[in-house]
Symmetry: D2
C-alpha cells in the first residue's frame, strides 16, 4: 500500500481555487436529430482544494472523463453541456474533499448550409460547453453552451467616406451611387456566443450558429462558384457592420429567441474582425444577463 | 467633412462592455536600474460604449498608444503597469462617451541569472501588465504587473511510490535510499503570477520572477555545462513539487514580501506542468486577495 | 456568362510552383480493422500554374475534396494516404492546365493502449498523410503516411554525471547505485515519423505509432494510477534516451519492419524534447531513403 | 572528470541530418543606417552527427549563440544573415565531428511608413534569416534574408462577376460603372519573401519589405484616420490581386532590383490570403532561382 502523498498536510495554509488537468483530447459521440456524429473534444476539468490537503488526485479526473465517455460509445450524449454537467457531478463524488467542480470543453463541429443558389456547403464551427457545480447545492449547477463562428464583416464607416469621396470626384455619378454598392474594406470575422442553459430549458447549438450568422455582414462558405461568390460579396456590402453591430444584433436576437429565459441567465458575446486594412484586430464584447438586456 | 458613422444611433439599445483593438505590437523603451531595454510588447486596449452610440472610434486607440510610446523614445517608461495606467487615462480623454477603459500588455523580457557554479545565463521571461480606469473616479484606477516563468517540477507522488517499490525489491538498499535521491518524473512548468500594484506602492517584476523561481522544484537555464546540469537535476529532486505546492509557496512568499499591501489587493497565481508521463497538463490556480491570504 | 478572370493572361511570364487552398477542415470516415472511425482532418491542396494563366480555379479544389468525402460517408476510406492520392488524381482532371498536384492532411487519432498493469488508456496521436502526382506520369504518384507521437525521454548524460557525483559524495553507496536507477531530467517529447508508401505496399499507421513508442524512453498515458505511474517512471529511467537515440532506434525498426521496401522510399524522422531543465527544445532529425539506411 | 556520454558509440550505424536546439529567444542589437535597434529573435541551430557518435553536445550550441550575442552588445550586428553566418562558422569549430551547420532566425521588426496623406505609422514586420555551412568548403556557405509582411488583397474575380451582375441589373449605370470602383471581397494577406544573399552582395531587408508592399493590393497601416482609410480602400480596389498576382509581381520586382545576382541564387515567395468569404486560405508559391526567373 503506497503512501498517499496527495493527502499529506501541505506547507502554508492556503486553499486553491482550481486544481485539475488541461488539454485532454477525446472523441465524443453526440446524438443529433437525424444521426450520431463523432466530435474530437478538448477538455479541461478542475476541482477546488482545501487548505489542509497537499494535492488533488489528478488521475481521478481522467478516470471520470473516461468512464462517462466509454458509456457514450454505446449511448451517444445528447449535448456537450449535459456531458459537462455529468462530469461535474462525478468529480464531486470522486474528490470527496472538493466543494466545487468545473468542466470546459471545445470541439470542431460541422453543419451543412445552403447557399442562395441552392448549392450546399459543409461548414466548420466550434462548439464551446462549460459547467460548474458546488457540493450540497443541487441548484448551484451552472451549464452553458456556445459557438464560435467564422464569418465576414464589411466596414460601414469606410463605405460612407468612400461614397463622399466618389461623389465629390464624380458629381455626375451621384444618382448611380445611390443604386450601386460602394466599396469598403471587408474581412474575416470570428464571433463567439455563449449562453447559460437554465435548468429545464434547452438550447440548440445550431440555433446559436444561425443567430451569429444572421448578425454578420454575411456568413462564409467553403465552396462558392463564381455566381455564389458575387452574391455573397453583394450581400455583405448591403449589410455593412462594425463588430459593435454584430454583437448588438446577436443580443437582440437572443432576446427574441429565448423570451422566457430567467433574468439571471448569463450571456456573453465577443466579435473580432481581422481587419484587412490593419495588422491588428477590431474587437467588441458584451458580458451580461438576460435581465440586464431586458432593461 | 465626412459623416461620423460611429456617432450614429445604433439599432437596439445595448451598451457594450468592451470595444477596442487587439494584437497591436510596438517596441517599448523601459528604464531598468542600470540601463534602458527595448521590449516588443503586444497590446490590447478597450473602452466601453454607451447604448446610444453606434461605434467606438478605434483609430483613437492606436493614436493614444503611439503618442505615449513616441514620448517614451526620448523618455523611457519606468514600468509597464504605469504605461498601461497612462494609456487608460488618455483613452478616457479621447473617447468622451466612454466611462471605462482597459489596457493589457505582454512582452518578452530577459534577465541574467547566476548558476550555482557561478556561470551566468541570460534567461527569457514574459512580463504581463494591465490597468483599468473608470471616469470620474480617480481612485478607481487599478493596475497590475505579472510575470510568466518557465521552470521545472519533479513529482513528489511518483517519487514516494518508486521509493516503496525499490525498497520492496531491494530490501538491502533501504539505508542507501535514505541518502540518495529517488527517481521521479519531472517536466517543464509554466507559472504565472500577477499582483495588483496599489497606489503609492511599487512592485518590481524582477522580484516576482525570483518569487516564482524560488517556488519551483528548480529554475531552468539556457546554458548548462555537464556539472551544472547535474546540480540542477539534483536540486530539483531534493525539492519535489506538485503544481499545488508551487502555487502555495508563491502565495506564502507574496505574503512575506508585501506585508503592508492593503487587504483589497488582488493576487492571481497559475501553475501548469507539461507532464512528462501524460499527454495532458496538470494545473493549479488561486485567484484571491491579500486579505483572504492573511486569514 | 461571366468573364473567366483566372484564364486571363497574367503580367510577367512566371509559372508558379504551388497554388491552392490551405486550412480546410472536414470530417472523414476511415475504415479500421474492426470499426469505422470519424476523424477531423485539416487539408491543404495545391496544383502548379503555367506562366500563361493568371489564376488557378480555387473553388475546384474544395469541390474535389467535397465530392470525394461525400462518397466516403457511404463508403469509408481505407487510409488517409489513399484518400490523398485520389484527391491528387482528381485535381489534375479538374485543373486541365496543371501538371502537378499535391495534397497534405493531418488528423487527430485515438488508439487504446494497455499498461503493464493491464489497465487500458485511450491515447491521442496525430496522423499525417501526403500525396503528389505529375500529369502523364502514372508512376510519378508519391504518397506517404506518418504519425506524430507524444512520449517521454530521460536524459542519459545527466544520469551519468549525477551517478558520478553521488558516488563521490557517498562512496559507501556505490554498490547500491548499481542496482537502483539514478535520477535525471526527463520531459515530454514529440516525435514525427513519415514514410513513403510504395505502390502495391501497405503501411499501417498503428505500426508506425508502435515503432515510435518502442523507441522512446517510455510511452505516455492519459490514465496512470499510482502503481502505473511508478512503473512508467522506472521504465523510462531504465531506458534513458537522447533525441538522437530516439531517431536512430526508429530508423533501425523501420529497416526491420519494412525489409522489402524499395531503396528509393523516403523516410523522415524528427524528435523534439521539451527539455525540463531548459526553456528551449532539443531536436534531432534524419531525412533519408531506405537505400541510404541499408548502406 | 565526468564521462562524455555524447562521445559514446551509439546503437545502430545511422548518421543524423540535423541535431540541435530550437526555440532559443535572445535580444539582438542590430545596426540600422541611422540607429541601433534591439530585436527579440527566436533562433534554431543545428549540426549534423556522424554515425559513430551517440550525441551532439547541445550546450555548445547555446554557448556559441551567447558568445556572439554578448559581443553584439558592444558592437551591434550589421545584419541577421551575417549573424547567422558567423554562428554557422563557430558551430563547426566547436562541434569538431560535424560536417554541416545550419542556423535559422526570426524577429519582429518595425519600420515607419508614410501614408499618402503624409501621416506616419509605425508598422510591424517579421525578419527571417538563415545560413548553412559545410566543413572545408569555404564557398559552401549559404545565407539568406527574408521578410514576412501583412497586407491586403482585393479579389479581381469577384469584382468582375459583381460588375457583370450590376450591369445586368442596372443597364443605365453602365457608364458610371466604368468610372467607379466595383465592390469585391478583400482580406488580410500574409506574404513571405526570402532571397539568398550571394557572397560580396548585400540585400537590405527594408527593400524586400518595399517590394512586397508594392506587390499587394495595398499595404496596411496601424493608424488610419477616416480619409486615410478611404484612400487605402480605394487604392486596394484599383489594384485587385489574386495571391498568384502578388507572387508574380514580387518575382518581377526581384528581377529588376537585383539584376546582377548570380543565376544560382535561390528565391522563395509565398502569399496567403485569409479569405473573407471563406473559412480557409488561398495560397500561392514559387520556389526558384534567379536563373530560372530569367528564362
Amino acid at each position: 500500500m503506497h503512501m498517499d502523498v496527495q493527502n499529506q498536510k501541505p506547507t502554508g495554509n492556503f486553499k486553491l481555487t482550481r486544481v485539475g488537468v488541461t488539454g485532454i483530447k477525446k472523441p465524443i459521440n453526440v446524438q443529433r436529430p437525424d444521426k450520431v456524429v463523432t466530435l474530437t473534444a478538448q477538455i479541461d476539468v478542475f476541482v477546488d482544494l482545501p487548505s489542509g490537503q497537499k494535492g488533488s488526485h489528478l488521475s481521478r479526473n481522467v478516470e471520470v472523463i473516461s468512464e462517462i465517455l466509454d458509456k457514450s460509445v454505446r449511448e451517444p450524449v445528447s449535448s456537450l453541456e449535459l456531458l459537462c454537467e455529468e462530469i461535474c457531478h462525478k468529480l464531486l463524488e470522486r474528490h470527496e474533499y472538493a466543494t466545487y467542480s468545473e468542466v470546459g470543453m471545445q470541439a470542431n463541429y460541422f453543419l451543412e448550409k445552403a447557399l442562395s443558389s441552392g448549392r450546399k456547403s459543409l461548414e466548420e464551427y466550434k462548439l464551446i460547453a462549460k459547467a460548474s457545480a458546488k457540493r450540497n447545492e443541487e441548484t448551484s449547477i451552472k451549464k452553458c453552451i456556445g459557438v464560435e463562428v467564422v464569418g465576414m464583416t464589411t466596414c460601414p464607416c469606410a463605405m460612407e467616406t468612400v461614397r463622399n469621396m466618389l461623389e465629390a470626384k464624380h458629381p455626375e455619378a451621384k444618382e448611380c451611387l445611390k443604386k450601386i454598392p460602394v466599396v469598403t474594406h471587408n474581412q474575416r470575422n470570428i464571433t463567439t456566443l455563449t449562453i447559460e442553459v437554465p435548468r429545464d430549458y434547452d438550447v440548440e447549438a445550431d440555433d446559436l450558429i444561425q443567430i451569429v450568422e444572421d448578425s454578420l455582414s454575411s456568413p462564409t462558405y467553403e465552396i462558392l462558384k463564381r455566381d455564389d461568390e458575387a452574391l455573397v460579396t453583394l450581400q455583405a456590402h448591403e449589410n455593412p457592420k462594425f463588430v459593435e453591430d454584430v454583437v448588438r444584433d446577436i443580443l437582440g436576437r437572443i432576446l427574441e429567441n429565448y423570451p422566457d429565459f430567467p433574468d439571471s441567465v448569463v450571456v456573453t458575446v465577443r466579435s473580432e474582425s481581422e481587419e484587412s486594412i490593419h495588422k491588428h484586430n477590431a474587437f467588441a464584447e458584451r458580458v451580461t444577463t438576460m435581465g440586464e438586456l431586458r432593461k
